[in-house]
Each structure stands twice: as structure tokens, then as C-alpha cells.
Symmetry: C2
Subunit: 343 residues, 2 copies
Amino acid sequence: MTRDHHPTGSRVTMQQVAAEAGVSVSTVSKVINGRYGVSSDTFDHVTEIVSRLGYEASLVARSLRNSRTNVLGVLVADFEPFSTEVLKGAADAIRGTGFELVAYSAGGRVDEHVGWERRYLSRVMGTLVDGAVLVTPTVTDVQYDGPIVAVDPHTGRSSLPTVTADNLQGARLGVDHLLGLGHRRIGMVTGRPDLVSARLRERGFREAHAAAGVPLDESLLRLGAFEQDQAGDAARELLALPDPPTAIFAANDLSAIAALEVAAELGISVPEQLSVVGFDNIPDSALSSPPLTTVQQPIRQMGHDAIAMLVQMIAGEELAETHVTLETTLVRRRSTAAPGGTP
Amino acid sequence: MTRDHHPTGSRVTMQQVAAEAGVSVSTVSKVINGRYGVSSDTFDHVTEIVSRLGYEASLVARSLRNSRTNVLGVLVADFEPFSTEVLKGAADAIRGTGFELVAYSAGGRVDEHVGWERRYLSRVMGTLVDGAVLVTPTVTDVQYDGPIVAVDPHTGRSSLPTVTADNLQGARLGVDHLLGLGHRRIGMVTGRPDLVSARLRERGFREAHAAAGVPLDESLLRLGAFEQDQAGDAARELLALPDPPTAIFAANDLSAIAALEVAAELGISVPEQLSVVGFDNIPDSALSSPPLTTVQQPIRQMGHDAIAMLVQMIAGEELAETHVTLETTLVRRRSTAAPGGTP
DNA sequence: GGTCGCGTGGAAAACGTTATCGACAACGAT
DNA sequence: ATCGTTGTCGATAACGTTTTCCACGCGACC
């Protein structure tokens, strides 16, 4: 089956194909790229030789010649659940575009080496890819003039095109759910205040209260800092209050799960005595006990759209909107119920 | 935002640096690569110009000239937990080697498009990377003469260098644990029989029994096929038996978690009435209820070693061993206890 | 004062492709 | 016959590097 062709010592080059077929390299090139100007006889003949020799064009040489690599890069801070989900969406969107997709990881070293992305972008991306998607929350200020789309950039607004989830609306969704269930004292474990996403979620929390005409107790807002330990502490403080909340809205699933654990530890049953809502809908949230009710971000979709935008930009088309925000949805699982105890 | 970023951002070329510095391109090249034969005066002068112009060498042109890209690729079937963990290990091992790391994903389409890897390897890998790590369980028969290392190739032995976990020893570990706890009727949910890893785990299961002198009831062996649904069904059958097992050893964590769910569904409490041991130690296994006792594979280490081997191969060194197998360890959590019920 | 060596710098040929453009034949129309 | 036309095909110049190799100037050494 695997017919061993010629002494394929190294790589078969166009020259060799041309020599074998008795034509010029120009002709071979035309055949390969389906250009007009070659008779069907020679076309067939050349394709025959090409497949017999197992010839594959050197993408490097081609890139050099065309100053296009036909490769799109996704730059992630680390391969955590969020980025990998984005990657899946991106991998999905890439097919049929004629581009290849590669992923680069900072290996979680982002905090240590600030400016990592800058260096990387100019070094690698600048020459090996035609465009890039950034999934590096903290850094979006890069000096690389190629097409770039940022996904979920937590830090303040950037000049780049972006794709984000609607954090404000998502928070409204989560808190409205709690409010609708009858909760009137809702605690919130907020995220790092320097991230816009966290601020938007907090704002949604406030707006939901305002819209429902429910007064807000400021002492019920705690900083969870997107870190699981601190989130646990925040939940602990909340539950130790003389008049503890009947529900907790966490800025992200990790914090929510931490809250769940603290509740279990304190012997508080969820959802009977305490309701918990998360944000993100990471895969783990379906496996917590009880399974977490949470606000889902369309992460895959975000990766998908980012690639689609990139492709458009490269094609030279104008983007309909440079800042795309995608709707979130509420995933109801078993961590929420009415304050009484009945779900 | 500057409007004039051309299709591919017009980069500074070596020519321009040379012109600006009043020297020849050869000299600039020598300076860039630190070659001998340039006076320290001109060296300083050129480096000055280089940084002023923000010049970065075109990796494409460089790759074409030296037929090396200095990029290593990791080819994954999909971005699931296992592969991403391998990727982290790889990203870790890559630093300091002078290579860059890129990841390619089949986008989970491996089953549909058999032979995907073959095409991809010859097309992309053959020309864009200097070597590749394969994390594509089912296919390892590729015709790409570059350096390749396969990680955890489930399918039969391949001629490629490989890195795998010691599945046999791992299964021994898990089953010995159960046996040591006092269990005498242990069920096993096995994996797809066409995968060597699954067969080795089953063999470890048998050997552990033999070593302990505990007779083995063949009716307690069920095919779980590495699929969560089928694993659930297998567990259900096992537990519906007139004389059900007091413990289940699952061929992987996904199956084990499925078994946990089935037990919960049937009102069987874990670990009081049933002990469950998994294999892999995926992140989710720590979050199941109860947290899963499981056999941990050093997945990161596998990625790390694969890259290290690749680098060695490219350097032309001989590999100490072409088939590396790494030790597994038992992670005791709360899904196992003595048959009576006391942990 | 001629060679020899040595320290510098540059010219030019690759690497494998693609696009441009001209050569050449065959052929119908004037 | 001449002239354009059409249809094939091949030379050739890039693309941006790196790497020989060669030229030049200048001390040093007999």
C-alpha cells in the first residue's frame, strides 16, 4: 500500500518534479496552483508525476514569495479551560477559510514576564502568521501592526477589535434569577476590581437590585479576587454575618465552587439554606455538588467570531462592528432554590 | 491606529538596516547572528540602528535559507484535558532550547477523517516544523521522515519513539489499594480492547488478583469503551448483579465518574457501600462527589519528556531509550474505603 | 621594500516558490 | 503572403536571509 517512491532522501522539490516531467518549474507551479495557461495533457502528466513523487510545496518558500503564511495564530496565556474552549471555537471557524491555525502559549508565565506578548508578537507572530487572536487577559497593548483580535480583554478598553461576553447582561441574568426566586439578601463575591469584566458584573448586580426595587446591603459585597482561596474567605465572612445572605452571586465559577465548599464545611446545605450562582459555566461547574447554577459565556462562539473577524480583516473588508459582545445565558442547575427551601 | 498597515505589515528588512547604517547586508547579518569578523565599532553602530528601527529578522526567510524553522509542533486530536496537560509540560520543556512551540489540533475530527494526521504531517509539519509530538491516540503510522515522538499511543506498538505511563503498574497500584482495603469482589469497567493501554490496565487488574491470591470472577469484567454512557451502563449492570461487587476499578476517570453517578442514582452510597477507583487523575476527578481515588499519570512529565527527546533527536544524539514509560502514583481521595464502610 | 598574514567588509550565490513577460507555434482572417 | 490571435510554455526576477569566498588595507617580518 505504501508504495515507496524515489529515494526520498530529503524533500522533493519543484525542480525535481519539473525535471522528471520534462517541463519547466513555471509549468509545475501553474499546475500546482491551478493557474490558467497549461494544456490538459501536460496538466495530467505533471499531476501524475507530482503524486508519484509525493511532492508537497514548501510552505516556507511559498510564504517568503507571497509574504503571506496562510496561518492564523491564537496566543493564550495558558492552556486553562477558558482558552482551550476558545481554541476549539477557533479551530472550528478556521476550516474552509484556507488558513491553518496554530496556538502559542505563554506557559502561564504572563505575570512574571510582563511584556511577554509584545516580544512574542513582534518576533513570531510578525513573521510566521498573518494575524493573531489574543486570549491573554491582562495585556492587549501590543505593537504589531498586523491584524489582531482580542478575546475577553479584561483590562480597560483597547484600540483593538474585541470579542467579549456581555458581562453586564449576564450578571443581570444571574441576579434576576435569584431575585425571582424570592431572595432579598444576596451576597456577592466580586472579582479583581482592575478588570472591567469584574466591574461590569458588579454593576449588573447593582442594576438588578435597582430594577427590582430591592435595597442593597453594601456589607454583602466582598472581594474574591478571582482566586479560589480568597473567594472562600469572602464566602466565609459573608456566612458568618449576624444576618447572613440567603444567596451568593459569585463573580466566577471558581469562586462559586469555593463558596459551595465553604458552605458544606459549615454545614449549610445548598440549595435549601443557601443558593449559589456562578459565572462562566466552566466544565467543572457541572460536577460540583450540587451542580452549579451559573451564567454561561458562549466561549466557543467567542473563539469562532474572533477568527471570523480576523479573516475579514485580512481580506480587507470592513468589520460591521469592531467590538462584538455576545449574549450570555443562564444555566439552571441545582445550587439555587427559593429561600424557603423548595426548589 | 495607523492606517497604513499593509496586507502584511511592511516590515523592516535587512536591506533597510544596511542602508541606514551605511554597511552591507552581510555585515548586518553577521551582527545579528553574532558572527566573528566585524569590528566592535561597526557592531555597536549596527545594533544601534537595529534597535532604533525595531528590526526583527524574518523567520520565514531564515527558515528557507537554513532548512530549519526552529519550531516544534505538538499535534493533538483535540484540546481535551489530557492533551492540554501534555501541552503544558511541552511548553515547559521548550524554554531554553531555542525552539518555539506550536500546537495543532485536529478539532476532534480524527474519527471522521482517518488519515488526517498523515496529510497534516506531510503538509504542515513537513515544512513548518523541525519535529513533532503526536498526541493522537489512534494514529501513529505516519510517513514523515522528520523526528517524531508519540505520547501515549494507544494503538499497538509503533516504530516511533514513545512516552507512555506505566499502565500495568498503575492498574496494580489501584487494584492493590482495593485489595488491601479488604475488597474481594472487585468489578472492572474496561476500556476499548483495541487500545493497548486498556489491555494493560486489564492485565494489571488480573495480575493484582493473582498476586494477592484472590480469585477473579470473570462476570465482573465489563466493557466501558472509554465512553461515558457505555461506562455508566456497564456499572449499572455490575451493580444489578445478584452478588454485586463491593468495589469498581474503572479504566479511566470518565468511566469512574459515570459509575459514581450511577451509584448515586441507585441510592448506593460511596464509599460506604461501594468503593470506586479511577485512572488518569483528570482535574474533574477531584471535584466529583465524593472526590475520586484514582491512579495518576504524570501527564505533564510526559509532554516534557517528549519534547526533550525530540530536541535530542534533532541534535543528532542517540536516545538512551526510545520507549520511555513513566511511573504512576495512587491519589487517595474519598471514593474508597473498606468493604464494611469505615474508611 | 616586498611578502605574508590578519582584521574587516562586501559581492554573490544559494534556499524553493510564484508572477511577469516574452518566445514560439499554429491558425484563421484579411 | 501578411498580420493578428490564441494557446502553451519557459526564462527570469524577485521574496529576505545566511554563508562562502574574495578584495582590500595595513601593520609586521625578514
